[in-house]
Protein backbone atom coordinates (compact mmCIF):
# COMPACT_ATOMS: atom_id res chain seq x y z
CA UNK A 1 0.00 0.00 0.00
CA UNK A 2 1.29 3.48 -0.82
CA UNK A 3 2.11 6.12 1.80
CA UNK A 4 -0.55 6.96 4.33
CA UNK A 5 0.39 10.65 4.14
CA UNK A 6 -2.03 12.76 2.14
CA UNK A 7 -0.59 15.53 0.05
CA UNK A 8 -0.82 19.13 1.20
CA UNK A 9 -3.34 21.21 -0.71
CA UNK A 10 -0.77 23.97 -1.26
CA UNK A 11 2.59 24.84 0.23
CA UNK A 12 1.78 28.53 0.45
CA UNK A 13 -1.55 30.30 0.18
CA UNK A 14 -0.14 33.80 -0.30
CA UNK A 15 -1.80 36.88 1.15
CA UNK A 16 -5.24 36.12 2.50
CA UNK A 17 -7.92 38.48 1.20
CA UNK A 18 -11.17 39.79 2.60
CA UNK A 19 -14.46 39.01 0.86
CA UNK A 20 -16.72 42.05 0.85
CA UNK A 21 -19.82 42.78 -1.20
CA UNK A 22 -19.28 39.71 -3.35
CA UNK A 23 -15.67 40.52 -4.26
CA UNK A 24 -12.24 39.44 -3.04
CA UNK A 25 -10.38 42.52 -1.81
CA UNK A 26 -6.90 43.13 -0.48
CA UNK A 27 -6.62 44.77 2.91
CA UNK A 28 -4.62 47.99 3.05
CA UNK A 29 -3.47 47.14 6.56
CA UNK A 30 0.22 47.38 7.35
CA UNK A 31 -0.20 44.81 10.09
CA UNK A 32 0.31 41.35 8.66
CA UNK A 33 0.73 38.06 10.53
CA UNK A 34 2.20 34.76 9.39
CA UNK A 35 -0.04 31.70 9.30
CA UNK A 36 2.03 28.71 10.37
CA UNK A 37 1.51 24.99 9.85
CA UNK A 38 1.86 23.67 13.41
CA UNK A 39 3.22 20.28 12.33
CA UNK A 40 6.03 21.65 10.17
CA UNK A 41 6.46 25.16 11.64
CA UNK A 42 6.49 26.45 8.06
CA UNK A 43 4.74 29.69 7.14
CA UNK A 44 1.90 28.84 4.78
CA UNK A 45 0.21 32.24 4.35
CA UNK A 46 0.09 35.85 5.47
CA UNK A 47 -3.03 37.37 6.96
CA UNK A 48 -3.76 41.10 7.21
CA UNK A 49 -5.31 42.59 10.33
CA UNK A 50 -8.02 44.65 8.68
CA UNK A 51 -8.54 48.26 9.69
CA UNK A 52 -11.65 49.80 11.24
CA UNK A 53 -12.36 51.50 7.92
CA UNK A 54 -12.37 48.15 6.13
CA UNK A 55 -14.75 46.73 8.72
CA UNK A 56 -17.08 49.68 8.12
CA UNK A 57 -17.07 48.95 4.38
CA UNK A 58 -18.08 45.35 5.05
CA UNK A 59 -20.84 46.46 7.43
CA UNK A 60 -22.12 48.98 4.88
CA UNK A 61 -22.25 46.26 2.21
CA UNK A 62 -24.08 43.89 4.56
CA UNK A 63 -26.53 46.59 5.60
CA UNK A 64 -27.32 47.45 1.99
CA UNK A 65 -27.73 43.78 1.04
CA UNK A 66 -30.16 43.21 3.93
CA UNK A 67 -32.86 45.28 2.21
CA UNK A 68 -33.35 42.78 -0.61
CA UNK A 69 -32.21 39.65 1.18
CA UNK A 70 -34.87 39.88 3.87
CA UNK A 71 -37.49 40.08 1.11
CA UNK A 72 -36.08 37.01 -0.62
CA UNK A 73 -38.41 34.11 0.12
CA UNK A 74 -37.31 31.65 2.82
CA UNK A 75 -37.52 28.88 0.24
CA UNK A 76 -35.11 30.74 -2.07
CA UNK A 77 -32.79 31.43 0.84
CA UNK A 78 -32.90 27.71 1.71
CA UNK A 79 -31.91 26.86 -1.86
CA UNK A 80 -28.70 28.84 -1.47
CA UNK A 81 -27.99 26.61 1.53
CA UNK A 82 -28.58 23.48 -0.56
CA UNK A 83 -26.14 24.84 -3.14
CA UNK A 84 -23.53 25.57 -0.47
CA UNK A 85 -23.96 22.10 1.01
CA UNK A 86 -23.45 20.53 -2.42
CA UNK A 87 -20.26 22.49 -2.97
CA UNK A 88 -18.95 21.58 0.47
CA UNK A 89 -19.57 17.90 -0.27
CA UNK A 90 -17.80 18.26 -3.61
CA UNK A 91 -14.75 19.90 -2.00
CA UNK A 92 -14.91 17.91 1.22
CA UNK A 93 -11.42 16.42 1.17
CA UNK A 94 -9.80 19.68 0.14
CA UNK A 95 -11.53 21.56 2.97
CA UNK A 96 -10.39 18.90 5.45
CA UNK A 97 -6.78 18.96 4.33
CA UNK A 98 -6.53 22.75 4.47
CA UNK A 99 -7.85 22.51 8.01
CA UNK A 100 -5.13 20.03 8.98
CA UNK A 101 -2.47 22.25 7.47
CA UNK A 102 -3.43 25.35 9.40
CA UNK A 103 -4.72 23.96 12.70
CA UNK A 104 -2.82 20.72 13.18
CA UNK A 105 -5.68 18.33 13.93
CA UNK A 106 -5.74 14.87 12.38
CA UNK A 107 -7.38 14.28 9.02
CA UNK A 108 -10.23 12.33 10.62
CA UNK A 109 -10.82 15.13 13.11
CA UNK A 110 -10.80 17.58 10.22
CA UNK A 111 -13.28 15.45 8.26
CA UNK A 112 -15.44 15.28 11.38
CA UNK A 113 -15.32 19.06 11.70
CA UNK A 114 -16.27 19.64 8.06
CA UNK A 115 -19.09 17.13 8.45
CA UNK A 116 -20.47 19.03 11.45
CA UNK A 117 -20.28 22.26 9.52
CA UNK A 118 -22.23 20.73 6.63
CA UNK A 119 -24.82 19.42 9.08
CA UNK A 120 -25.51 22.98 10.22
CA UNK A 121 -25.97 24.09 6.61
CA UNK A 122 -28.37 21.15 6.16
CA UNK A 123 -30.40 22.09 9.23
CA UNK A 124 -30.53 25.75 8.17
CA UNK A 125 -31.87 24.63 4.79
CA UNK A 126 -35.03 23.72 6.71
CA UNK A 127 -35.63 27.37 7.52
CA UNK A 128 -39.13 27.61 5.99
CA UNK A 129 -40.28 25.28 8.78
CA UNK A 130 -37.91 26.55 11.46
CA UNK A 131 -38.95 30.20 11.26
CA UNK A 132 -42.70 29.78 11.12
CA UNK A 133 -44.57 31.98 13.53
CA UNK A 134 -47.73 31.15 15.50
CA UNK A 135 -51.16 32.58 16.00
CA UNK A 136 -54.37 32.36 17.98
CA UNK A 137 -57.81 33.28 16.71
CA UNK A 138 -60.36 35.05 18.88
CA UNK A 139 -58.18 36.39 21.64
CA UNK A 140 -61.26 38.53 22.07
CA UNK A 141 -64.42 38.13 19.96
CA UNK A 142 -63.44 38.77 16.32
CA UNK A 143 -59.86 39.64 17.18
CA UNK A 144 -56.85 37.49 16.19
CA UNK A 145 -53.26 37.62 17.34
CA UNK A 146 -50.17 36.34 15.57
CA UNK A 147 -46.44 36.26 16.18
CA UNK A 148 -44.39 36.85 13.04
CA UNK A 149 -40.72 35.84 13.01
CA UNK A 150 -38.52 38.45 11.33
CA UNK A 151 -34.81 38.97 10.70
CA UNK A 152 -33.05 41.93 12.28
CA UNK A 153 -30.20 43.09 10.08
CA UNK A 154 -26.43 42.53 10.18
CA UNK A 155 -24.85 39.94 12.50
CA UNK A 156 -21.27 38.80 12.93
CA UNK A 157 -19.20 35.97 14.38
CA UNK A 158 -15.82 36.18 16.04
CA UNK A 159 -14.44 32.68 15.67
CA UNK A 160 -11.79 30.71 17.59
CA UNK A 161 -8.67 28.86 16.43
CA UNK A 162 -9.65 25.34 17.47
CA UNK A 163 -12.49 24.74 14.98
CA UNK A 164 -11.63 27.14 12.15
CA UNK A 165 -14.19 25.79 9.72
CA UNK A 166 -17.12 24.63 11.85
CA UNK A 167 -17.72 27.38 14.39
CA UNK A 168 -18.80 30.06 11.93
CA UNK A 169 -21.28 27.49 10.61
CA UNK A 170 -22.89 27.14 14.04
CA UNK A 171 -24.27 30.61 13.35
CA UNK A 172 -23.91 31.95 9.81
CA UNK A 173 -26.26 29.54 7.97
CA UNK A 174 -29.08 30.24 10.45
CA UNK A 175 -28.51 33.99 10.40
CA UNK A 176 -28.50 34.12 6.62
CA UNK A 177 -31.34 31.64 6.12
CA UNK A 178 -33.57 33.67 8.44
CA UNK A 179 -32.94 36.72 6.24
CA UNK A 180 -30.09 38.54 7.99
CA UNK A 181 -26.77 39.43 6.41
CA UNK A 182 -23.46 38.44 7.92
CA UNK A 183 -19.81 39.11 8.61
CA UNK A 184 -17.32 36.40 9.58
CA UNK A 185 -14.14 37.33 11.45
CA UNK A 186 -11.98 34.17 11.64
CA UNK A 187 -9.18 33.66 14.13
CA UNK A 188 -6.10 35.38 12.79
CA UNK A 189 -4.13 32.21 13.59
CA UNK A 190 -6.21 30.05 11.24
CA UNK A 191 -7.86 32.11 8.49
CA UNK A 192 -7.44 29.63 5.62
CA UNK A 193 -10.41 27.35 6.27
CA UNK A 194 -12.80 30.29 6.10
CA UNK A 195 -10.98 31.51 3.03
CA UNK A 196 -11.66 28.17 1.33
CA UNK A 197 -15.27 28.17 2.54
CA UNK A 198 -15.81 31.65 1.10
CA UNK A 199 -14.58 30.45 -2.29
CA UNK A 200 -17.54 28.08 -2.16
CA UNK A 201 -19.88 30.77 -0.84
CA UNK A 202 -18.83 32.87 -3.82
CA UNK A 203 -19.44 29.95 -6.19
CA UNK A 204 -22.85 29.30 -4.61
CA UNK A 205 -23.85 32.74 -5.86
CA UNK A 206 -25.17 34.41 -2.72
CA UNK A 207 -26.08 38.02 -3.59
CA UNK A 208 -23.23 40.52 -2.95
CA UNK A 209 -23.00 41.68 0.64
CA UNK A 210 -25.09 38.87 2.14
CA UNK A 211 -22.05 37.05 3.57
CA UNK A 212 -18.75 38.86 4.10
CA UNK A 213 -15.33 37.89 5.41
CA UNK A 214 -13.06 40.28 7.28
CA UNK A 215 -9.73 39.06 8.61
CA UNK A 216 -8.20 40.71 11.62
CA UNK A 217 -7.66 40.86 15.36
CA UNK A 218 -8.71 43.16 18.23
CA UNK A 219 -9.07 46.37 16.22
CA UNK A 220 -11.30 44.53 13.76
CA UNK A 221 -13.38 43.09 16.61
CA UNK A 222 -13.78 46.45 18.31
CA UNK A 223 -14.93 48.04 15.06
CA UNK A 224 -17.62 45.36 14.78
CA UNK A 225 -18.71 45.72 18.40
CA UNK A 226 -18.94 49.50 18.23
CA UNK A 227 -20.83 49.85 14.96
CA UNK A 228 -24.53 50.65 15.39
CA UNK A 229 -25.59 48.60 12.36
CA UNK A 230 -24.40 45.34 13.92
CA UNK A 231 -27.44 43.81 15.61
CA UNK A 232 -25.71 40.92 17.33
CA UNK A 233 -22.49 39.04 17.80
CA UNK A 234 -21.66 35.37 18.27
CA UNK A 235 -18.37 34.48 19.87
CA UNK A 236 -16.49 31.30 20.71
CA UNK A 237 -13.18 31.47 22.54
CA UNK A 238 -11.63 32.09 25.93
CA UNK A 239 -13.59 33.27 28.96
CA UNK A 240 -11.47 36.41 29.30
CA UNK A 241 -12.15 37.52 25.73
CA UNK A 242 -15.75 36.34 25.92
CA UNK A 243 -16.43 38.55 28.92
CA UNK A 244 -14.94 41.52 27.11
CA UNK A 245 -17.01 40.89 24.00
CA UNK A 246 -20.23 40.26 25.92
CA UNK A 247 -19.81 43.44 27.95
CA UNK A 248 -18.89 45.61 25.00
CA UNK A 249 -21.60 44.20 22.72
CA UNK A 250 -24.39 44.54 25.26
CA UNK A 251 -23.22 48.04 26.28
CA UNK A 252 -23.69 48.94 22.65
CA UNK A 253 -27.21 47.50 22.61
CA UNK A 254 -26.42 44.33 20.67
CA UNK A 255 -27.48 40.78 21.19
CA UNK A 256 -24.59 38.57 22.26
CA UNK A 257 -23.96 34.87 22.66
CA UNK A 258 -20.47 34.09 23.95
CA UNK A 259 -19.41 30.48 24.29
CA UNK A 260 -16.25 30.46 26.37
CA UNK A 261 -13.65 28.46 28.28
CA UNK A 262 -14.02 25.13 30.03
CA UNK A 263 -12.59 22.75 32.57
CA UNK A 264 -14.36 19.48 31.94
CA UNK A 265 -14.56 16.72 34.53
CA UNK A 266 -14.92 13.10 33.49
CA UNK A 267 -16.12 10.85 36.31
CA UNK A 268 -15.53 7.09 36.15
CA UNK A 269 -17.57 4.94 38.52
CA UNK A 270 -16.46 1.53 39.84
CA UNK A 271 -19.13 -0.18 37.73
CA UNK A 272 -17.93 1.38 34.46
CA UNK A 273 -17.14 -0.99 31.59
CA UNK A 274 -13.46 -0.13 31.25
CA UNK A 275 -13.03 -1.89 27.91
CA UNK A 276 -15.51 0.58 26.44
CA UNK A 277 -14.54 3.48 28.68
CA UNK A 278 -10.81 3.72 27.91
CA UNK A 279 -11.16 4.43 24.14
CA UNK A 280 -13.83 7.01 24.96
CA UNK A 281 -11.47 8.67 27.42
CA UNK A 282 -8.65 8.73 24.87
CA UNK A 283 -10.69 10.72 22.39
CA UNK A 284 -12.00 12.94 25.17
CA UNK A 285 -8.64 13.91 26.67
CA UNK A 286 -6.37 13.68 23.62
CA UNK A 287 -8.61 14.17 20.58
CA UNK A 288 -7.75 17.44 18.79
CA UNK A 289 -4.68 17.52 21.09
CA UNK A 290 -6.96 18.51 23.97
CA UNK A 291 -7.92 21.74 22.20
CA UNK A 292 -11.66 21.20 22.19
CA UNK A 293 -13.80 23.19 24.58
CA UNK A 294 -15.42 19.79 25.25
CA UNK A 295 -12.13 17.99 25.94
CA UNK A 296 -11.79 16.06 29.16
CA UNK A 297 -9.34 17.75 31.50
CA UNK A 298 -9.86 16.31 34.98
CA UNK A 299 -10.29 12.56 35.30
CA UNK A 300 -12.12 11.57 38.48
CA UNK A 301 -11.99 7.88 39.37
CA UNK A 302 -14.52 7.09 42.08
CA UNK A 303 -13.64 4.50 44.73
CA UNK A 304 -11.95 1.23 43.88
CA UNK A 305 -11.79 1.77 40.09
CA UNK A 306 -8.80 4.06 40.65
CA UNK A 307 -5.84 1.70 40.27
CA UNK A 308 -7.05 -0.25 37.25
CA UNK A 309 -8.31 2.88 35.53
CA UNK A 310 -5.02 4.71 36.16
CA UNK A 311 -2.89 1.87 34.78
CA UNK A 312 -5.03 1.25 31.72
CA UNK A 313 -5.45 4.96 30.99
CA UNK A 314 -1.70 5.61 31.11
CA UNK A 315 -1.00 2.53 29.00
CA UNK A 316 -3.48 3.59 26.30
CA UNK A 317 -2.28 7.21 26.33
CA UNK A 318 1.34 6.14 25.96
CA UNK A 319 0.45 4.17 22.82
CA UNK A 320 -1.24 7.00 20.94
CA UNK A 321 0.50 7.80 17.68
CA UNK A 322 1.40 11.49 17.54
CA UNK A 323 2.37 13.15 14.27
CA UNK A 324 1.36 15.21 11.26
CA UNK A 325 -2.40 15.01 10.86
CA UNK A 326 -2.19 14.36 7.14
CA UNK A 327 -0.83 10.90 7.98
CA UNK A 328 -4.03 8.85 8.22
CA UNK A 329 -2.58 6.56 10.89
CA UNK A 330 -1.83 9.45 13.27
CA UNK A 331 -4.11 9.65 16.31
CA UNK A 332 -3.07 13.02 17.73
CA UNK A 333 -1.60 16.09 16.05
CA UNK A 334 0.38 19.08 17.34
CA UNK A 335 -1.08 22.00 19.28
CA UNK A 336 -1.88 25.08 17.25
CA UNK A 337 1.19 27.28 17.75
CA UNK A 338 4.59 27.60 19.38
CA UNK A 339 3.15 30.08 21.85
CA UNK A 340 0.35 27.71 22.76
CA UNK A 341 2.80 24.81 23.08
CA UNK A 342 4.85 26.87 25.53
CA UNK A 343 1.69 27.67 27.48
CA UNK A 344 0.78 23.97 27.76
CA UNK A 345 4.35 23.07 28.72
CA UNK A 346 4.18 25.81 31.36
CA UNK A 347 1.16 24.11 32.91
CA UNK A 348 2.96 20.77 32.99
CA UNK A 349 5.87 22.47 34.75
CA UNK A 350 3.45 24.06 37.19
CA UNK A 351 1.89 20.69 37.95
CA UNK A 352 5.29 19.24 38.77
CA UNK A 353 6.19 22.24 40.96
CA UNK A 354 2.93 22.00 42.88
CA UNK A 355 3.58 18.37 43.72
CA UNK A 356 1.40 16.39 41.32
CA UNK A 357 2.85 13.06 40.26
CA UNK A 358 3.75 12.96 36.57
CA UNK A 359 2.90 9.47 35.30
CA UNK A 360 3.27 10.20 31.60
CA UNK A 361 5.39 13.12 30.42
CA UNK A 362 4.59 14.59 27.01
CA UNK A 363 7.38 17.16 27.13
CA UNK A 364 10.26 16.94 24.71
CA UNK A 365 8.38 14.80 22.24
CA UNK A 366 10.07 14.75 18.83
CA UNK A 367 8.20 13.46 15.81
CA UNK A 368 10.41 12.00 13.11
CA UNK A 369 10.29 14.12 9.98
CA UNK A 370 8.64 17.02 11.83
CA UNK A 371 11.24 18.04 14.37
CA UNK A 372 10.15 21.68 14.42
CA UNK A 373 6.47 20.89 14.96
CA UNK A 374 4.56 22.09 18.02
CA UNK A 375 4.04 18.66 19.53
CA UNK A 376 3.19 17.88 23.13
CA UNK A 377 2.74 14.19 23.87
CA UNK A 378 -0.12 12.78 25.94
CA UNK A 379 0.52 13.75 29.56
CA UNK A 380 -0.98 12.28 32.72
CA UNK A 381 -0.74 13.64 36.25
CA UNK A 382 -1.82 11.62 39.26
CA UNK A 383 -2.29 12.71 42.87
CA UNK A 384 -3.68 16.04 41.74
CA UNK A 385 -5.46 18.01 44.45
CA UNK A 386 -8.48 20.17 43.58
CA UNK A 387 -6.61 23.30 44.73
CA UNK A 388 -3.72 22.83 42.27
CA UNK A 389 -3.47 25.10 39.23
CA UNK A 390 -3.72 22.21 36.77
CA UNK A 391 -6.99 21.12 38.38
CA UNK A 392 -8.51 24.58 38.19
CA UNK A 393 -7.37 26.37 35.05
CA UNK A 394 -8.13 25.59 31.43
CA UNK A 395 -4.97 24.10 29.89
CA UNK A 396 -6.35 23.44 26.39
CA UNK A 397 -3.78 20.78 25.65
CA UNK A 398 -3.22 17.02 25.96
CA UNK A 399 -2.84 17.01 29.74
CA UNK A 400 -4.91 14.87 32.12
CA UNK A 401 -5.16 15.59 35.83
CA UNK A 402 -6.39 12.66 37.93
CA UNK A 403 -8.21 13.64 41.10
CA UNK A 404 -9.60 10.77 43.16
CA UNK A 405 -13.03 10.85 44.75
CA UNK A 406 -14.51 8.47 47.29
CA UNK A 407 -18.11 8.90 46.17
CA UNK A 408 -20.21 10.28 43.34
CA UNK A 409 -21.28 13.01 45.75
CA UNK A 410 -17.67 14.10 46.19
CA UNK A 411 -17.07 14.01 42.42
CA UNK A 412 -20.10 16.21 41.73
CA UNK A 413 -18.90 18.57 44.46
CA UNK A 414 -15.61 19.00 42.58
CA UNK A 415 -17.46 19.81 39.36
CA UNK A 416 -19.55 22.42 41.14
CA UNK A 417 -16.56 24.17 42.69
CA UNK A 418 -15.20 24.84 39.20
CA UNK A 419 -16.16 28.25 37.83
CA UNK A 420 -16.75 26.64 34.43
CA UNK A 421 -19.86 24.79 33.29
CA UNK A 422 -19.28 23.63 29.76
CA UNK A 423 -19.28 19.82 29.89
CA UNK A 424 -19.07 16.87 32.25
CA UNK A 425 -19.37 13.12 31.72
CA UNK A 426 -19.90 10.03 33.78
CA UNK A 427 -18.95 6.50 32.80
CA UNK A 428 -21.11 3.96 34.61
CA UNK A 429 -23.32 0.91 34.18
CA UNK A 430 -25.87 2.24 36.66
CA UNK A 431 -28.97 3.97 35.40
CA UNK A 432 -29.47 5.52 38.83
CA UNK A 433 -26.01 7.07 38.83
CA UNK A 434 -26.47 8.30 35.25
CA UNK A 435 -29.82 9.84 36.12
CA UNK A 436 -28.46 11.56 39.25
CA UNK A 437 -25.54 12.90 37.26
CA UNK A 438 -27.56 14.40 34.44
CA UNK A 439 -30.15 15.75 36.85
CA UNK A 440 -27.79 17.43 39.25
CA UNK A 441 -24.60 18.45 37.47
CA UNK A 442 -24.47 22.16 36.62
CA UNK A 443 -22.93 21.97 33.17
CA UNK A 444 -24.41 22.68 29.78
CA UNK A 445 -23.40 19.49 27.99
CA UNK A 446 -23.64 16.20 29.86
CA UNK A 447 -22.24 12.87 28.69
CA UNK A 448 -23.33 9.45 29.86
CA UNK A 449 -20.65 7.00 28.74
CA UNK A 450 -19.59 9.60 26.13
CA UNK A 451 -16.36 11.56 26.43
CA UNK A 452 -17.07 14.27 23.87
CA UNK A 453 -20.59 15.58 24.37
CA UNK A 454 -20.78 17.53 21.13
CA UNK A 455 -24.38 18.53 20.41
CA UNK A 456 -25.59 17.89 16.88
CA UNK A 457 -26.61 20.79 14.65
CA UNK A 458 -30.29 20.48 15.58
CA UNK A 459 -29.54 20.88 19.32
CA UNK A 460 -28.06 23.97 20.98
CA UNK A 461 -24.42 23.86 21.99
CA UNK A 462 -25.03 24.56 25.63
CA UNK A 463 -22.86 25.85 28.47
CA UNK A 464 -23.27 27.69 31.74
CA UNK A 465 -21.38 29.62 34.47
CA UNK A 466 -18.08 31.06 33.15
CA UNK A 467 -18.42 28.94 30.02
CA UNK A 468 -21.27 30.92 28.51
CA UNK A 469 -22.50 34.51 28.52
CA UNK A 470 -25.90 35.17 27.01
CA UNK A 471 -29.12 33.22 26.98
CA UNK A 472 -29.47 31.70 23.51
CA UNK A 473 -26.80 29.25 22.38
CA UNK A 474 -25.39 28.44 18.96
CA UNK A 475 -27.02 25.81 16.70
CA UNK A 476 -30.58 24.52 16.57
CA UNK A 477 -33.71 26.40 17.58
CA UNK A 478 -31.81 28.59 20.04
CA UNK A 479 -29.82 30.15 17.28
CA UNK A 480 -32.88 30.70 15.07
CA UNK A 481 -34.40 32.62 17.99
CA UNK A 482 -31.17 34.59 18.46
CA UNK A 483 -31.19 35.80 14.87
CA UNK A 484 -34.86 36.77 14.75
CA UNK A 485 -37.45 38.92 16.45
CA UNK A 486 -41.04 38.08 17.19
CA UNK A 487 -43.40 40.76 16.00
CA UNK A 488 -46.90 40.61 17.42
CA UNK A 489 -49.83 41.56 15.24
CA UNK A 490 -53.32 41.92 16.70
CA UNK A 491 -56.02 42.38 14.10
CA UNK A 492 -59.72 43.05 13.85
CA UNK A 493 -61.69 43.42 10.63
CA UNK A 494 -65.11 45.09 10.44
Amino acid sequence: MSSTILSEVKKHYGNVKNYVNGRWVDSASAQILDVVNPATAETIAQVPLSTAAEVKEAIAAAKEAFKEWRETTPLSRARYMFKLKGLMEEHFEELARVLVQEEGKTIDEARGEIRRGIENVEVAAGIPSLMMGYNLEDISPGIDEEAVIQPLGVFCVIAPFNFPSMVSLWFMPYAVATGNTYIVKPSEQVPLSQNKLFELIDEAGFPPGVINLVNGAKETVDALLEHPAIKGVSFVGSTRTGKYIYRKATENGKRAQCQCGAKNFIVVMPDADLDRTIPGLMTSFYGCAGERCLSGSVLVPVGEVYEELRDRFVDAASKLKVGYGLDETVQMGPVVSKRHMERVLGYIEKGVQEGAKLLLDGRGLKVEGYLNGFFVGPTVFDEVRPDMTIAKEEIFGPVTSMVRARTLEEAIGMIHISPYGNAASVFTSSGKVARDFKYRVQCGNIGINIGINAPMAFFPFSGTKESFFGDLHGQGRDTVTFFTDRKIVISRWY
Binding site: M1, S2, T4, E89, F92, E93, T106, I107, D108, E109, R111, G112, E113, R115, R116, R276, P279, G280, M282, T283, G287, A316, K319, L320, K321, E328, T329, V330, Q331, I450, I452, N453, A454
Partner: protein, 149 residues
Amino acid sequence: MELSTFGALLRFAMYLERQAGEFYRSLASNVRLSSATELFSGYARECARRLKLLEGIRQQNINEVLLEPISDMNSRLYFFTANVRDEMDVEAALDAASDIETKVGAFYKDSLQVAGIVLGEAGRVFRKLSEENKERGKMLSSLRKVPTT
Protein backbone atom coordinates in the same frame (compact mmCIF):
# COMPACT_ATOMS: atom_id res chain seq x y z
CA MET B 1 0.66 -1.02 8.95
CA GLU B 2 -1.49 -0.33 11.99
CA LEU B 3 -5.01 0.63 11.01
CA SER B 4 -5.34 2.95 13.95
CA THR B 5 -8.03 5.41 12.89
CA PHE B 6 -11.37 5.54 11.08
CA GLY B 7 -9.63 7.18 8.14
CA ALA B 8 -6.89 4.54 8.02
CA LEU B 9 -9.48 1.75 7.96
CA LEU B 10 -11.43 3.38 5.15
CA ARG B 11 -8.29 4.17 3.20
CA PHE B 12 -7.17 0.55 3.41
CA ALA B 13 -10.62 -0.68 2.42
CA MET B 14 -10.45 1.52 -0.67
CA TYR B 15 -6.96 0.23 -1.41
CA LEU B 16 -8.24 -3.36 -1.28
CA GLU B 17 -11.13 -2.59 -3.63
CA ARG B 18 -8.82 -0.83 -6.08
CA GLN B 19 -6.42 -3.78 -6.05
CA ALA B 20 -9.22 -6.31 -6.44
CA GLY B 21 -10.77 -4.26 -9.23
CA GLU B 22 -7.45 -4.10 -11.04
CA PHE B 23 -7.04 -7.86 -10.65
CA TYR B 24 -10.48 -8.63 -12.08
CA ARG B 25 -9.98 -6.21 -14.97
CA SER B 26 -6.73 -7.99 -15.84
CA LEU B 27 -8.43 -11.39 -15.69
CA ALA B 28 -11.27 -10.14 -17.87
CA SER B 29 -8.85 -8.99 -20.55
CA ASN B 30 -6.83 -12.22 -20.57
CA VAL B 31 -7.67 -14.15 -23.75
CA ARG B 32 -6.84 -17.51 -22.13
CA LEU B 33 -9.69 -16.85 -19.69
CA SER B 34 -12.27 -15.82 -22.28
CA SER B 35 -14.80 -18.31 -20.91
CA ALA B 36 -14.95 -16.28 -17.66
CA THR B 37 -14.67 -12.78 -19.11
CA GLU B 38 -18.22 -11.82 -18.24
CA LEU B 39 -17.85 -12.99 -14.64
CA PHE B 40 -14.59 -11.13 -14.05
CA SER B 41 -15.78 -7.95 -15.79
CA GLY B 42 -18.81 -8.00 -13.52
CA TYR B 43 -16.63 -8.34 -10.44
CA ALA B 44 -14.42 -5.48 -11.63
CA ARG B 45 -17.52 -3.27 -11.97
CA GLU B 46 -18.62 -4.35 -8.52
CA CYS B 47 -15.25 -3.27 -7.08
CA ALA B 48 -15.68 0.15 -8.66
CA ARG B 49 -19.17 0.44 -7.16
CA ARG B 50 -17.89 -0.61 -3.73
CA LEU B 51 -15.04 1.88 -3.96
CA LYS B 52 -17.50 4.69 -4.61
CA LEU B 53 -19.62 3.50 -1.71
CA LEU B 54 -16.59 3.60 0.60
CA GLU B 55 -15.64 7.09 -0.55
CA GLY B 56 -19.18 8.14 0.26
CA ILE B 57 -19.24 6.69 3.76
CA ARG B 58 -15.83 8.14 4.60
CA GLN B 59 -17.32 11.54 3.86
CA GLN B 60 -20.89 11.11 5.09
CA ASN B 61 -20.61 8.79 8.06
CA ILE B 62 -17.72 10.19 10.02
CA ASN B 63 -18.88 11.15 13.50
CA GLU B 64 -16.51 13.26 15.51
CA VAL B 65 -17.96 12.01 18.79
CA LEU B 66 -16.95 8.44 17.96
CA LEU B 67 -13.37 9.07 16.82
CA GLU B 68 -11.78 6.71 19.29
CA PRO B 69 -8.33 5.26 18.66
CA ILE B 70 -8.30 1.77 17.14
CA SER B 71 -5.89 -0.93 18.23
CA ASP B 72 -5.31 -4.52 17.11
CA MET B 73 -6.02 -4.02 13.41
CA ASN B 74 -3.10 -4.47 11.05
CA SER B 75 -3.16 -4.39 7.28
CA ARG B 76 -0.59 -7.17 6.84
CA LEU B 77 -3.21 -9.84 7.48
CA TYR B 78 -5.24 -8.81 4.46
CA PHE B 79 -2.77 -8.17 1.66
CA PHE B 80 -3.14 -10.40 -1.37
CA THR B 81 -1.26 -11.05 -4.57
CA ALA B 82 -3.03 -9.48 -7.49
CA ASN B 83 -0.65 -10.55 -10.26
CA VAL B 84 -2.20 -12.10 -13.31
CA ARG B 85 0.17 -14.43 -15.10
CA ASP B 86 -0.20 -14.83 -18.85
CA GLU B 87 -0.22 -18.61 -18.54
CA MET B 88 -2.92 -18.57 -15.86
CA ASP B 89 -5.79 -20.97 -16.61
CA VAL B 90 -9.34 -20.61 -15.39
CA GLU B 91 -8.76 -22.86 -12.39
CA ALA B 92 -5.79 -20.82 -11.19
CA ALA B 93 -7.69 -17.59 -11.75
CA LEU B 94 -10.63 -18.86 -9.70
CA ASP B 95 -8.26 -19.90 -6.92
CA ALA B 96 -6.64 -16.48 -6.83
CA ALA B 97 -10.02 -14.76 -6.92
CA SER B 98 -11.25 -16.92 -4.04
CA ASP B 99 -8.22 -15.92 -1.99
CA ILE B 100 -8.97 -12.25 -2.63
CA GLU B 101 -12.62 -12.60 -1.66
CA THR B 102 -11.67 -14.43 1.54
CA LYS B 103 -9.10 -11.83 2.58
CA VAL B 104 -11.20 -8.78 1.71
CA GLY B 105 -14.24 -10.30 3.40
CA ALA B 106 -12.19 -11.08 6.49
CA PHE B 107 -10.95 -7.49 6.60
CA TYR B 108 -14.49 -6.10 6.71
CA LYS B 109 -15.59 -8.67 9.27
CA ASP B 110 -12.59 -8.14 11.56
CA SER B 111 -12.92 -4.36 11.27
CA LEU B 112 -16.49 -4.61 12.49
CA GLN B 113 -15.44 -6.75 15.41
CA VAL B 114 -12.51 -4.56 16.48
CA ALA B 115 -13.81 -1.12 15.58
CA GLY B 116 -17.58 -1.40 15.33
CA ILE B 117 -18.09 1.61 17.62
CA VAL B 118 -15.73 3.84 15.68
CA LEU B 119 -17.25 2.78 12.37
CA GLY B 120 -20.72 3.78 13.52
CA GLU B 121 -23.10 3.88 10.56
CA ALA B 122 -20.24 2.90 8.24
CA GLY B 123 -20.37 -0.48 10.00
CA ARG B 124 -23.53 -1.37 8.09
CA VAL B 125 -21.71 -0.93 4.81
CA PHE B 126 -18.77 -3.00 6.06
CA ARG B 127 -21.21 -5.78 7.03
CA LYS B 128 -22.85 -5.66 3.61
CA LEU B 129 -19.50 -5.73 1.79
CA SER B 130 -18.33 -8.65 3.89
CA GLU B 131 -21.51 -10.56 2.98
CA GLU B 132 -20.97 -9.79 -0.69
CA ASN B 133 -17.43 -11.14 -0.49
CA LYS B 134 -18.78 -14.31 1.10
CA GLU B 135 -21.36 -14.73 -1.67
CA ARG B 136 -18.75 -14.18 -4.36
CA GLY B 137 -16.47 -16.68 -2.65
CA LYS B 138 -19.27 -19.26 -2.79
CA MET B 139 -19.91 -18.51 -6.44
CA LEU B 140 -16.21 -18.87 -7.29
CA SER B 141 -16.04 -22.20 -5.44
CA SER B 142 -19.03 -23.52 -7.31
CA LEU B 143 -17.32 -22.75 -10.61
CA ARG B 144 -14.20 -24.70 -9.79
CA LYS B 145 -13.95 -28.30 -11.04
CA VAL B 146 -14.67 -30.97 -8.47
CA PRO B 147 -11.21 -32.16 -7.39
CA THR B 148 -10.37 -35.73 -8.41
CA THR B 149 -9.06 -38.02 -5.72
